[in-house]
């Protein structure tokens, strides 16, 4: 399997993640799109690591997964708080993030 295939798959996944992140209004979907982008990056990390036989790339993937897990915990907690106070998942209705 050449490296290019992995990178193309990684790019497609990342593109889907960006598109979903920009287009979708449901905050859960946006959250999942972010996860998709992270994992697309993880895929390219491991692909390069296998190609160059370098373990640092694989170690990095673990770090990313740990951070993503932590982020998921915090993010879901915030989403639950938002849903409780506003009773909506639509990000367009949550527009107080400004001065």
């Amino acid at each position: 399997m050449p490296l290019l295939y992995y990178l193309i798959l990684s790019g497609i996944l990342f593109g889907c993640g960006v598109a979903g992140f920009l287009i979708k209004r449901n905050i859960i979907t946006i959250f999942m799109s972010i996860e998709l982008m992270l994992n697309a990056v993880n895929l390219s990390f491991v692909a390069f690591a296998a190609q160059w036989r370098a373990f640092s790339g694989q170690v990095f993937v673990f770090f990313v997964m740990v951070v993503a897990a932590a982020e998921a915990a915090v993010g879901l907690a915030i989403i639950i708080a938002v849903v409780r106070t506003r009773e909506t998942l639509n990000v367009d209705d949550v527009n107080l993030l400004k001065l």
Binding site: V18, F21, L22, I30, V91, D92, V94, L97, K98, L99
Partner: protein, 674 residues
């Protein structure tokens, strides 16, 4: 052994008076204010007299006194230093003497005025600057005094500053003088550039070896002409005389002191002081003589038609100043200074007496509403008669001697010409005519003004509203009344001086001033290079023609009297008919040859239009203001756009993040490709 004269006291004393009255006068009573002003002005006069008594014992003729160093830049030095020679001594005595008398008179005249302390503060301040001007030992200090008297003149013309005409007259005087000062300043710069000094001694020492600029005009001619421009402004000569008639808006004592006796003669003094330069610039001398002669005639003709008593005297002052410049222009400086002195006596007296007349009839200045005042105010009448005879040149009064000397010099001097003499004689005739016209109109015939009772009412209320300068000086008490003693004493003293002031004789006066005007060194050093400056007038049939000319000038004075007697006493209907017959010419003279209107069209209007339309609306509003306004507009629009980027909408933030990332990626790819 030269005694220490403490010259500095003379200017500083009035300054102290001005400071005391200016700072604390508001709390003082009128008595204290006048006591302070009189004490300091009087002390200056007494000190000047003491100096005069010491003067003959001085060993070194120009007495120097350096008070403090002022400007030292490289080789250039200008100090607070005073300089006393025969010329400044004469000026000193005239300024302090006449000044003190007018202070005395003002106490009576201004007694009922508001701003009493302010008036005396300005008056003392004027004395300070005038004495600085006269005593200065370098041109720069002289210029300080020169500007200072201009300031005092401005303040005093606009003394009744709530009146629009007085305020604008003050501004006019100040602005017209700026034009002259511009010339004076350029002359000073030229002196610094070419002689490296402004001290009289050094400048004159450097100029003396130079030969007269007979072939074409050079440096000295330009300096002399620029100095003359300054003198034209200060001494109200053509073309800058227009401010002086308007300056009559000030209180009458101010007109007497500043605009007749002292300040306006500063130009004559300056030209006489700079005679070393003028002597070596024949072309400039010619210009001085022509300006003086023309001014003398021109102003005198306007004087015939004026009906305001102070305006007649104002034009008469301009005319007499013209005589002084005529004398300076033919290098007869001592004759000019002699006339300056006698003129200070009789013109100061004329103004004070006119003030007394105005005071007597409750603020009226129009001669057509006077008449028959001879018996009602006898003291004023007799002193005014002395002054009128003096200015008309009737022997043996002061004006006769000085004017006769000027006319003789205008004819016989090396630079003289019969043209100057002829115009001078014609002017003498006109002078005599308009002065006796004033005299007859004011003191003879029937009283043509409002009656005493009406005056009383007018004096109480409506005068403030009238457009009449000295209406404000009017008292509440009705009827025609002689002025208080305080005003009459200066009148009498000046009348005595007007009578005897000329008896010193022009030759003795000339001999007294000769160390200033004909120093031996000038002739000796100047002679090898060309014609020397005139030491003595040429001797051509002197005795015969001089007495003939004296007879002629006395004759025209008498003729003027007769004509005035005929027109304004005997046949009162004639002047109206003559004026009617002359038609347009009379109108032109009555309107002062439309010079004010001409200046308004030529200079004032383009300036006002240029500054209001072009500079204000054009450049200031359309360019400078517009730039500022537009840049704020642009900043506002940009920030308005930028403000909307922060919408609070998460998805737009996400978009910006994505866009930013895209830009970075594109940039990295571009770098990689390159």
């Amino acid at each position: 052994m030269t005694p220490n004269l403490h010259l500095w006291l003379i200017p500083v004393l009035p300054l102290a008076g001005a400071a005391i009255n200016g700072l604390f006068g508001r709390r003082f009573s009128r008595q204290i204010v006048s006591a302070v002003a009189l004490a300091f002005a009087g002390a200056a006069f007494v000190w000047a007299l003491w100096i005069a008594s010491q003067f003959s014992s001085l060993t070194s003729a120009p007495y120097h006194e350096t008070l403090a160093s002022w400007i030292r830049a490289g080789d250039f030095r200008a100090d607070f230093a005073f300089y006393l020679d025969q010329l400044s001594l004469v000026m000193l005595l005239v300024v302090t003497g006449v000044g003190f008398l007018i202070h005395l008179y003002s106490v009576g005249y201004m007694w009922e005025e508001g701003g009493f302390y302010r008036f005396f503060c300005y008056l003392n301040l004027f004395m300070f600057f005038m004495l600085t001007l006269v005593l200065a030992s370098n041109y720069l200090l002289m210029f300080i005094g020169w500007e200072g008297v201009g300031l005092a003149s401005y303040l005093l013309i606009g003394f009744w500053f709530t009146k629009d005409s007085a305020a604008s007259a003050g501004k006019k005087a100040f602005i017209v003088n700026r034009i002259g000062d511009f010339g004076f300043l350029i002359a000073l710069f030229l002196l610094i550039k070419h002689f490296g000094s402004l001290n009289f001694d050094q400048v004159f020492a450097s100029v003396t070896p130079l030969s007269p600029e007979t072939q074409g005009a050079g440096l000295l001619t330009s300096i002399a002409l620029l100095l003359m421009l300054g003198a034209c402004g200060k001494s109200a000569q053509i073309p800058l005389y227009v401010w002086l008639p308007d300056a009559m808006e000030g209180p009458t004592p101010v007109s007497a002191l500043i605009h007749a006796a002292t300040m306006v003669t500063a130009g004559v003094y300056m030209v006489a002081r700079s005679h070393v330069i003028f002597d070596r610039a024949p072309a400039a001398l010619m210009v001085v003589a022509i300006i003086g002669t023309l001014t003398a005639l021109f102003a005198a003709t306007i004087g015939i038609t004026q009906t305001d008593i102070k305006k007649v005297l104002a034009y008469s002052t301009i005319s007499q100043l013209g005589y002084m410049f005529m004398a300076c222009g033919v290098a007869a400086y001592s004759a000019g200074i002699f006339h300056l002195m006698t003129h200070a006596f009789f013109k100061g007296l004329l103004f004070l007496a006119a003030g007394s007349v105005i005071h007597a009839i409750g603020g009226e200045q129009d001669m057509r509403k006077m008449g028959g005042l001879r018996t009602k105010i006898p003291w004023t009448f007799w002193t005014m008669t002395a002054a009128t005879l003096a200015i008309a040149g009737i022997p043996p009064l002061a004006g006769f001697f000085s004017k006769d000397e000027i006319l003789w010099q205008a004819y016989s001097s090396q630079y003289g010409s019969w043209v100057f003499w002829l115009i001078g004689v014609i002017t003498a005739f006109i002078t005599s005519f308009y002065m006796f016209r004033l005299w007859f109109m004011t003191f003879f015939g029937e009283y043509r003004g409002a009656s005493g009772e009406e005056h009383e009412h007018a004096g109480h209320g409506t005068h403030l509203g009238r457009n009449d300068a000295d209406a404000l000086a009017s008292h509440g008490h009705g009827g025609i009344h002689e002025s208080p003693k305080l005003m009459l004493i200066p009148l009498v003293i000046l009348a005595v001086l007007s009578v005897v002031g000329g008896w010193v004789g022009s030759e003795r006066f000339d001999r007294f001033l000769s160390p200033v005007f004909h120093p031996n060194s000038t002739v000796i050093v100047g002679s090898p290079m060309g014609t020397p400056p005139p030491a003595v007038p040429e001797q051509r049939n002197e005795n015969l023609s001089e007495s003939l000319m004296t007879a002629i000038s006395v004759g025209v004075a008498a003729l003027g009297f007769l004509l005035a007697w005929l027109l304004y006493y005997r046949r009162r209907d004639l002047p109206g008919k003559i004026a009617h017959a002359l038609g347009g010419l009379y109108q032109a003279v009555l309107n002062k040859y439309y010079v004010d209107e001409l200046y308004a069209t030529l200079f004032v209007k383009p300036l006002v239009d240029g500054s209001s339309k072009l500079l204000w609306r054009g450049i200031d509003q359309n360019v400078i203001d517009a730039t500022v306004d537009n840049s704020t507009e642009v900043a506002q629009q940009i920030s308005d756009t930028a403000r909307h980027m922060q919408s609070g909408n998460l998805r737009s933030y996400a978009g910006w993040v994505a866009a930013g990332a895209a830009v970075i990626i594109v940039y990295m790819v571009w770098i990689g490709v390159r």
